[in-house]
Amino acid sequence: MARGPGGNWDRFVPFQFLAPGLLVLIAIVVYPTIAIIQNSLYDWNLLVGNRRFVGVQNYASLLADQIFLKSLVRTSIYTAGVVSAELVLGFALALLFNRSFPGLNVLRTLLIAPMLVAPVMVGLTWRFMYEPSIGVLNYLLSVIHLPGLRWISDTATALPSVGLADVWQWTPFVFLILLAGLQSIPESIVEAAVMDGAGARRIIFEMQVPLLSRVILIVVLLRVIDSVKLFDLIYVVTRGGPGNSTYLASFYNYVVGFTQFQMGRASATAFLIMLMISVLTMLLLRVILRGERL
């Protein structure tokens, strides 16, 4: 891409444009990062007020804390389950919508509406549907002669219930991106394959999936990162309960920081989560930037 007429201008010029935004970013991003690392080395309870240097003890006790370790395992399982469900459903929907038809735009708009709704409202809506006595889901189960579930108040079904709401909200996102990908595949390639007698299954798995591999990888990584960060839905739907059966990493961090007010330990947790996200982000950036000129 052409780089613009900047060559003749003062070398100082780009920084006039960049400086305001960058200064703000550095102040509000770099400072907190340093503060997290620093605070994580202290034993510091805001309710008691003491602040004592303890080195890496916060990390050591975190890595020995069963509740924290379980929340990490739970986050991984949750993420794997939710993202694969979204991928399969999103791809199926994208295949279904991959045509041109009058009025299809309106249907597509309706389908992607959930992803712009505030997660808090999504959580409330599903929590209502999970109500054992007046919720619609147990009613639907009774229609097909199945016993009602306790949904969010049963340790076995609480986390899958959160996941269901998550899948409902974010499958449209996966769908939309994969649809854009499918529509970028030249029609002539598909036509040629049809002429050669390739069936739908072969076209999907031997042509469309491989051609979309980069897009699929991007969308999966974006969704994995978001799932690891998930907080709003947990807070609204289950508050981590019953017991601590729906503590995911972010929610654990919230409990340590803002119900127990242990700032040192919360900072250590935040730093570990940040590390995990950073690894995922670096993977994502490698995919996004591969062969792309910035």
């Binding site: 891409m1 052409a2 780089r3 613009g4 900047g6 070398r11 920084f15 006039q16 444009f17 960049l18 305001p20 960058l22 970013l25 991003v29 907190p32 503060a35 805001l46 295949l95 279904l96 991959n98 038809f101 309106v106 249907l107 708009t109 389908l111 509406a113 712009l116 709704v117 505030a118 997660p119 808090v120 409202m121 409330l124 809506t125 599903w126 109500e131 007046i134 619609v136 009613y139 939309l176 990908g181 029609e187 598909v190 049809v194 739908a200 690891v228 960060k229 907080f231 807070y235 609204v236 919230y254 919360a266 900072s267 935040a270 730093f271 996200i277 950073s278 995922l280 982000t281 910035l294």
Partner: protein, 287 residues
């Protein structure tokens, strides 16, 4: 079976099965959308019912609709205040974000300088930063500075979320503006600032509008930062709504009404910007 089948359209013989196929497909799509929107339809149904009607689990479609739930939301002074807070916070954040981000995006898209690519990568990586990690140091800092529960505090805390997103999005938009426009302006004797303000910015106004809409929605929907950094004076609508389920008796009718009131304007917005949603949500990685 869902693949475009051009052969069906090629020969007259196959028109008939093609049409049946088409109708079947349309029914299938309509059904899928209907099921997916089930929760929304159910909520809209509930929002028009009285408390006694809601207590009956069997969905009913023939009843006398009431607007009392909507009225209750609009007459709840706290909720109205939280909504006003959300509106103020989201608008101010959006304005600040757009000003800073359009400048930065122009600088990144139109100039070459050392470290430019590194800078872009850094900004992109900030987009992924977990909010829970930001909120702990912000809380500690705000407690010291007295910024807890203030507009200024929450707006400042939203910038690390909105700025990277907006810079990157505007960057990918401005990059698509033909650079000959800049060059023509420069030949006419415009400096970089005039070129930006009088040529590139006006041409990019639709992109700026799209970015502003996304930024606004991000702020309006944000929950975790608002939950922790605001308490009463600056409390946002999302946080206010989340407290609804804490009350002794959960007012599902009102929650449903509030959800519908938030959803309807969104649908209009989605329809207007849907061409840009893919780009917006993937930061231009997928076009």
């Amino acid at each position: 079976m869902t693949i475009r089948t051009p052969t069906a359209a090629l020969t007259g013989d196959e028109r008939r099965p093609g049409r049946a196929h088409e109708i079947l497909w349309l029914v299938l799509v309509g059904l899928v959308v209907l099921i997916w929107l089930g929760p929304v339809l159910w909520i809209s149904n509930i929002s028009l019912k009285t408390r006694a009607e809601i207590a009956v689990p069997v969905p009913s479609f023939i009843f006398r609709p009431t607007l009392e739930n909507y009225a209750a939301i609009l007459e709840n002074p706290n909720l109205v205040r939280y909504a006003a807070n959300s509106l103020i916070i989201a608008s101010v954040t959006t304005v600040i974000t757009i000003v800073l981000a359009s400048l930065a995006a122009y600088g990144l898209a139109r100039f070459t300088f050392r470290g430019r690519e590194g800078l872009l990568t850094w900004i992109l990586s900030l987009r992924m930063m977990p909010v829970i990690a930001v909120v702990v140091p912000f809380y500690i800092m705000y407690q010291r500075l007295g910024l807890l529960d203030t507009y200024a505090g929450i707006i400042l805390a939203y910038l690390p979320v909105t700025l990277p997103f907006a810079i990157w999005l505007l960057y990918s938009f401005i990059r698509d503006v033909p650079v000959v426009l800049d060059e023509a302006a420069m030949l006419d004797g415009c400096g970089p600032w005039r070129t930006f303000l009088e040529i590139v910015l006006p041409v990019s106004l639709p992109s700026v509008a799209v970015t502003a809409i996304f930024t606004f929605i991000v702020c309006w929907n944000e929950f975790l930062l608002a939950l922790i950094l605001t308490a009463n004076r600056a409390k946002t609508f999302a946080v206010g709504m989340s407290e609804f389920v804490l009350s002794y008796e959960v007012l599902w009718g009102q929650i449903s009404a509030a959800a519908m009131m938030m959803l309807l304007p969104l649908l209009v917005i989605v329809y207007l910007v849907q061409r840009h949603i893919v780009k917006g949500m993937t930061l231009g990685a997928v076009r």
